[in-house]
Symmetry: C2
Subunit: 624 residues, 2 copies
């Protein structure tokens, strides 16, 4: 395979010149190991520049190579749960030339996307959906008489999500060619929790591989011709195959064959295990032990820190997760200070202890801290249970993941008017993670919940006072939403409020916004003033329920501009418009692809510059 | 306990005169059996009049008696998953006097409600939330140093919901006094499905009870004093207790002790098993085998038919589930006829084969029919997988349960613009099942999903043509919503359409509605005409996206009345109002309690009479 190697860098494979993933099958094991080293270098270099998910990708290099050697994508369908572990998959399926663009605007997505490549069999981004999607594909293959395989790859963290269990419960009896690769790395986003994790860690240590390997070799050596002959043989040698399976596991109780555990950094072992699963031709789980951050010392030492990172310094390897100066950290510290005083405050997270700033709470008050795994549904109902017996639960969760417990918010918290507080982190545009992660639906869906109160503070101080009010003074279900990253104040300053801040100058045109966009609007206002344009400005801080005071005030204007990082249907501006206010609303028209937050806000018409432009245009058209 | 028995009916307990649940502890086993018989008579008589859930309640009579004899509610908290199995619990916790009012307006709820009784520890209605809620309560007890017990009771059907698994995963390691009673009745709403069901049925037959019984007797005989002494003893005799536990179950892998299976109709066995669990003082699962419909021959023979029934004839026992003349049946038959012609149509249900009319499809085309259990999240993603490989999945689901997969609709169907069809059954007011089940949120939350198309047909014929269009002509995610029960046409008739029907007479006032309410509005219109009042009427059939044609037409009116069975925020009328149309909107202001659909619609201002009144009032006030 020397023709696949570049000359300008000794012994490097030229992934852009190879016919991938097919050419992988022609590599020797030693070449595969060399390729793995090369890929690791690429991952580290690229993520150090573009940010992204490093640890999980370093952990799946050999696994990805082995999958593409044993199976035939895109006829065989590979589905990566939470697709941020699929960087190597992208490199090995024809996207090496664009890999340096990953997570940049118009570049490759940080997750798998069917519209990016035929090798991305399903959308990914939110955890725990891969088994269900894979089963849908496997069943459709069966209905069509297509004997190809569907392979779902998921980590032990994804297994804590209830949808994974729903998928397992249906897949085990499905009689399809479905293979579930359970990538056990002892680490979901924060330290894995729960009984499943404990159970898996006992499995991890079992030494079934060597038996597996010889059994697989027996089978494969006897079946030189692929396709039906191997299938026939396998059926005949069921007893041989049985020998390579670890018995008495929870997964067998669920109806699966079980292969493994396999050393996930040994390509030969991986190929043997995956080939065994392939030969079985029935729903099979292959357990693979990997090490997050494998091959990069700083990430091996601190895989949680490198889960999802911004760009970092390659030499020191210092990742940029929840810095002190961030909305999340301010939230976490304020919550802790309140919890010191009020012993009934509990903190709940769904596997996002670091990302949500709850590590302060966990460290100081571990008995009242609950990391429930990637299980937002349980988290919401669990909060309901806590609250029903006198606790004040505070559930810190990313806006996009809060979508998972819509029903529980309605049913288990709202109907019985439970006092619970949701810290809606990453509300609004989140940037590089793209459309599966933008927090633009929380206002639309939270406002459909009777009795909910929503705060959207525009600076750290406001976040603190809103959080305190939501926890100590308000009743019912309260959401306090705040964006990713750090406070970015406009030049001036503003008193912090929990209700409504107004700047009235007798204008006939007003602008309304909330949250961090208020700082953009105030910056736009300065520009407008320089152009001799005066508008009135309103910042609701408690953005829902709709404020009678604000509605009354807005009714007098010729035109009221609303600016929101929210999907348009269900936005706050829409609600005021429905009260008869003459609005011009700038909001998201649909999903928002990846790019830098700054650039995306500008594209959406939500930067200070675009706000000023829009309002100026109105005045220039002689409308006021 | 003779003083507790009525004289007017020989040997009947007067449940209204007893101090319940406490007095249950004084009954002999033989009296308990007698009580069970009495309760069964009450259940059958009441449900035959009021409708409700019969089979599940007949199955839990002895279990409920045993729970209230072994535990001390309300200090011990009992949580009933899908509270429709809690009728006996209501009878035995001070609500016997009002039991005849169950499911009637202002009467007892058909589900558990904390605001109805201190013995109802949590809200119930939607499946699979009980473990999470119970864990929240158990943890809060632990934080408070309260050594009481929390008992979650759930059926094997509820276990197929992913939230149950999320709960189990967290509860197993919780070190709380949490007891999960797994009521195994081989029957969720339709025949139980999946690997869990298969697994449980193997457990069911294990004969562990006799060992259990003697071991428990050993423990209890040695501990005459309750409280700490028993706890101390139990800790010392861990080995004895170990003997009564069935080993090597999936639940032990999840960190639970396991007791059972126990004959759920034998009060002595139940008490022994529950006492054993109590003595263990750690997260424990008690498996109880019960028979749905136990003690009533027609229900025993056909438990699915008696799951949730309208009033029925006591002598013939003919329940009224999905009659031929119902929206659900029309949907089911039309879907089948389309699927005969188009071999890529698949039908998916989450345990609602009978309720959604999909039994036609299941019977005729079983290979393309998928009952996934109570697993709406999986159902939605599974549809995404099917669709990604060329199938056209149709997921029939009750509006209220569709809430469970909001995230999956957004993430797994909408982002990749998947063509999938949701049959939103029980959309709008459902009546007696009350606020946990009213279908008033589907429009609010579905309209927050980019690219969705929503149809709301007003008659059977329209349902058929909308369904056909959604499946065969439309793209992306399409929802076709229709109510519970049967078509109720107004006196006239109307051409069926998939877009917009209008009756324009040059009036200055218009009224807009859709779905079954159109028939109410047309009836109201006849009344108005008799009073000399002329209005224009619009019926959007494709209700979303908002119709430009309709918006244009409505802009010319002085006032446009909207009538909707939807929560007000996110309603269709709100969207038109936000376009600058002068609306008067009648919609639901919050959750809607139980009562007859007719009465509730009237209360909400959505009956023909109330519509006419409202519009007449407008004219009488000289506003037009």
């Amino acid at each position: 395979m020397d023709n696949t190697k570049k000359n300008n860098q000794a012994d490097e494979f030229d992934l852009t010149a190879m016919d991938l993933p097919r050419d992988l099958k022609g590599l020797s094991i030693s070449e595969c190991r060399q390729l793995a080293r090369q890929i690791r270098r690429t991952l580290i270099t690229t993520v150090s520049k573009n940010g992204g998910h490093l640890s999980s990708n370093l952990g799946t290099v050999e696994l990805t190579i082995a999958i593409h050697r044993v199976f035939d994508s895109p006829q065989d369908k590979v589905i990566w749960d939470v697709g941020h572990q699929a960087y190597t998959h992208k490199l090995l399926t024809g996207r090496a030339d664009r890999f340096s663009t990953i997570r940049t605007e118009n570049g490759l997505s940080g997750f798998t996307r069917p519209d990016e490549s035929e090798h991305d069999a399903f959308i990914s981004g939110h955890s725990s959906n891969s088994i269900s999607a894979a089963l849908g594909i496997a069943v459709s293959m069966k209905l069509k008489g297509d004997e190809h395989f569907t392979i779902a790859v998921l980590g032990d963290g994804a297994l804590t999500g209830g949808e994974s269990f729903e998928g397992l419960n249906n897949a085990g009896k499905s009689r399809t060619n479905l293979i579930i690769v359970l990538n056990y790395n002892e680490m979901s986003i924060s330290k894995n929790v729960g009984a499943t994790a404990k159970y898996l860690s006992t499995l991890r240590t079992k030494e079934s591989y060597h038996k597996t390997k010889s059994a697989v070799e027996n089978v494969l050596n006897s079946t030189p011709i692929v396709g039906n002959p191997i299938k026939q043989f396998v059926r005949g040698s069921k007893n041989v195959l049985k020998d390579m399976i670890l018995h008495s596991t929870m997964f067998e109780d669920l109806g699966f064959e079980f292969v493994g555990p396999i050393d996930g950094h040994n390509i030969e072992e991986l190929e043997a295990g995956l080939s065994a699963a392939k030969a079985l031709r029935c729903p099979t789980i292959v357990m693979v032990n990997t090490q997050k951050g494998h091959g990069y010392a700083p990430a091996e030492a601190n895989p949680g820190g490198y889960h999802g990172v911004g760009a970092f310094d390659l030499s020191t390897g210092n990742p940029d997760v929840v810095p002190e100066d961030s909305w999340s950290a301010v939230f976490g510290r304020k919550l802790l200070s309140l919890a010191y005083e009020h012993t009934n405050i509990c903190a709940v997270t769904a596997a996002m202890k670091y990302g949500t700033g709850l590590y302060y709470f966990h460290h100081a008050l571990p008995r009242r801290f609950f990391d429930v795994g990637i299980a937002e549904q349980h988290a919401a109902t669990f909060c309901g249970g806590l609250a029903s017996n006198g606790m004040i639960p505070v559930f810190a969760v990313y806006s996009t993941f809060l979508q998972r417990c819509y029903d529980q918010l309605l049913h288990d918290l709202s109907i019985i008017d439970t006092h619970a507080v949701i810290g809606v982190d990453r509300a609004g545009i989140v940037g590089e993670d793209g459309e599966t992660h933008q927090g633009i639906f929380d206002i639309p869906f939270l406002t459909t919940i009777p009795g909910v109160t929503i705060y959207s503070p525009s600076n750290y101080r406001e976040l603190e006072i809103c959080l305190e009010k939501a926890i100590l003074s308000d009743k019912g279900l309260c959401a306090v939403r705040y964006p990713r990253g750090a406070e970015k104040l406009f030049g001036g300053h503003d008193e912090a409020d929990t209700e409504l801040v107004r700047h009235t100058r007798g204008a006939r045109v007003a602008a309304v916004t909330y949250g961090r966009l208020y700082n953009e609007l105030m910056t736009a206002d300065a520009v407008l003033q320089k152009h001799g344009i005066t508008i009135d400005i309103y910042k609701p801080v408690k953005i829902f329920p709709v404020s009678d005071r604000l509605a009354e005030a807005l009714k007098g204007y010729d035109k009221v501009f609303f600016f929101e990082e929210s999907y348009e249907y269900g936005s706050i501006g829409e609600k005021y418009a429905a009260l008869g206010i003459n609005t011009d609303r700038t909001a998201c028209k649909g999903f928002v692809a990846h790019g830098s937050t700054e650039s995306l806000l500008d594209k959406l018409g939500l930067s200070a510059e675009k706000m000023a432009e829009k309002i100026m245009e109105y005045f220039e058209n002689g409308k006021a």
